[in-house]
Symmetry: C4
Subunit: 245 residues, 4 copies
């Protein structure tokens, strides 16, 4: 990666960046993203900056594609390279939530239905434990009327972050979802298991004919999520071994 | 590719054709077509001609397999090579709709149910925005009685194009569907996301137990489809990198 | 392949056998069979003989694994090699139905439900047209009581063939299904599209909430199946290019 | 593999271990496990010992990763290597059930719903015949209240084994399942076909609209399971040929 320009807060050590391009490819390999979607991490040394690839399909990201952004989602070292239209998802969540260090935005098909009908996503198993805290749904129409559905500017990002509140996930009606975490690895883990959880809930709902599902309750979710923060690295290590960089 | 015969309107530059064989392979790689299905583009220099592969499975198409057709779907440079039985889908749509530059015909399994039961396909997310304009269903039985289900001649193609009308998609009962666009890349994008959209709608319908789905409305669809015409190239560039030619 | 022993009716030319091992691998590649399942063809020169692999997973079959059987399903050239327990499916169908030249037995998961609940399989699209003639269900329990569910002897094969009657397909409760055809390629084609058709019908039934499905009627099925006998070779040629031998 | 330390009961011949690492990779290749899950076998010469990989994703296990445990699930030759948190599943089942020689623990998404709603898993086809004996569901909450959902100590393993009783399978609410067998190959076979069976039952339940399913009864299950113990090796041989070691 090129060194950040002087406008940047601080230079990022290659080792600190070493997992961001693979994170993008992992999400593609796991079916969470396709030609679209993006993952970012807060700058490890400058909390008012974040790092994310230029506008490119997730499966193609290389370390040289990573740009540095301020929290208004202005690229600081683009050098003519395009940014994702929806980078404001990332910047506004980092502003609103100092505890969040990484953000994944995706359109995984199994998750989208939970933003389209009035059935809340619940935690079907321990790997998706963070869902047990609740999953808000953002409808861009409520505040902005008919739009292109995209979080294409700061105010829309602010509105999305507000609906997410203190949760680490938010669904977007007719669009996709966002999963966040205290580390890059955790955010990727949660995004992957949100997709798996959605498939399990589709099956559970159909099998039970709409009867209540014995999902994890909030306390079970809190306890299991703690374990995932460390045990989850076993999955990360597998996924990391399966992609480039 | 061989030069077109003198009967052809104009010679096609290789660079102009450079994406048509890959488009066919992309549709196979994305699960939109299997051993059957076809994609065509209007001749870039002669609007009364279109280009499409000879009769061959989509995953096997090479640039040398591309033939030139007039709008009655007569091959102009076949030199003994077979044409698809259903080429009239393409010719008659190009006749009826001068704004359409590319046509994809497929039998993707997730889409077929929407032509078999009285549940209209709706736009589940922004990538399938063009669906929000409405999805007509063509039943060949209405006009032609019991048939082999195929669009095997001009009149059947005319009838199909008439049911499609001003939309860019039409479902065919007990058969498959057609997706169209103002560019080859757009038609492929729409065919791929029609398939994804169908899966999302199956899940949404089951999850909601038949309750209304908060799909994109017509204006949201129109706005989001505009973005797809340009942002969609990010997906195309990924897919293009994953197939030969 | 070793030459058949003298007990065999006639020597089989390698060229005549050239598609049987690949047929087995095609069925595995298309997800119709897994570690189990088998495909046979009637001996091209001796109608009282059939050819089928020794007991081995379909994806591993080589031409050297093909054995010759009489219609009582006795291997004529086994030379110590094991036969499939359920070879009687093949022998008894060939006895009962001189018009059938090839038989596929499989346990594809999407098909099995139609043998477990009282919902008949219908033809969802033209590629599965042969299904429109009707799909009988064989319940081994009716005649044989509690068994290991397998067609492990001649009488069970006779009973299965009797339930199949003049159709070219039969489902087996709690077990799998059989698809037949007038050529090896046709039987494989039908087995593949039975699996696809099953998936489409699951989606259609759920989407329609149990309402009638506008499936192909018998005459549409008859007409479309005729086309499949020739146009189906386009799929075969693709599949054949994707497996060994 | 390193020789077991003196604390171990007996040295394990490499040939006896030769299938344990591949068993782990087979389960990954078949989609039964992802980054998590584990398979063990009872020590072939010391019934009070079992063998299982160190804490690592199943797809990455090599023979050198196999550790020896006593039935309290203390690793005897770890040499600093980490053990799975949930190894007590294995140790306590081996204690309670001398007839069981191998245990698989997994979180396959299709199986989890049967632990979340009040619909018992039934045997949909002969390959999953062992399920016909009945499938108990363990809810960790019943005895331990709100937890991290994991079998992280001996008492929780004891409780799980008690719910399993004389069956060879047990589901775990909000978590996953355990499948056991009299041989390593049998346990892997059962775990794989439990996953397939779950998918078939989802389709069957939806297709039948909740009507009774003509599943295998207990006697059919008993008879078919006997055949699987030997015929199942055909699938094992295929799977074994598809993974390393």
């Amino acid at each position: 990666m090129n060194s950040p320009t002087p406008r940047s807060g601080r230079r990022v050590e290659p080792a600190q960046l070493a997992d961001l391009a693979p994170a993008s490819r992992i999400l593609a390999a796991q079916g969470v993203v396709d030609g679209f979607g993006h993952v970012s991490m807060r700058h490890p040394a400058a909390p008012d900056r974040y790092l994310m690839a230029r506008s490119i399909a997730p499966a193609l990201v290389t370390p040289g594609d990573i740009l540095e952004y301020d929290l208004d989602s202005t690229a600081l070292n683009a050098a003519g390279r395009d940014s994702f239209l929806e980078r404001f998802i990332h910047g506004e969540i980092y502003k609103a939530r100092p505890d969040i260090m990484s953000v994944v935005h995706s359109h995984s098909p199994s998750v989208i239905p939970f933003g389209l009908v009035a059935v809340p996503m619940q935690a079907m198993f321990h790997n998706a434990a963070f869902i047990a805290a609740g999953v808000p749904v953002f409808d861009i129409r409520d505040q902005f009327g008919a739009t292109d559905m995209l979080i294409g500017n700061g105010p829309k990002g602010v509105a999305l972050a507000a609906v997410m509140g203190r949760k680490d996930i938010v669904l977007m009606r007719g669009h996709g979802s966002v999963a966040c975490g205290p580390t890059l690895q955790s955010a990727v883990f949660r995004a992957v298991y949100t997709e798996v959880n959605a498939r399990i809930q589709h099956w559970s709902a159909a099998l039970g004919g709409g009867a209540p599902i014995a999902a994890l309750d909030a306390e079970e979710g809190r306890l299991a999520d703690q374990v995932n923060q460390t045990a989850g690295m076993r999955a990360w290590n597998l996924w990391r071994s399966q992609v480039k960089w």
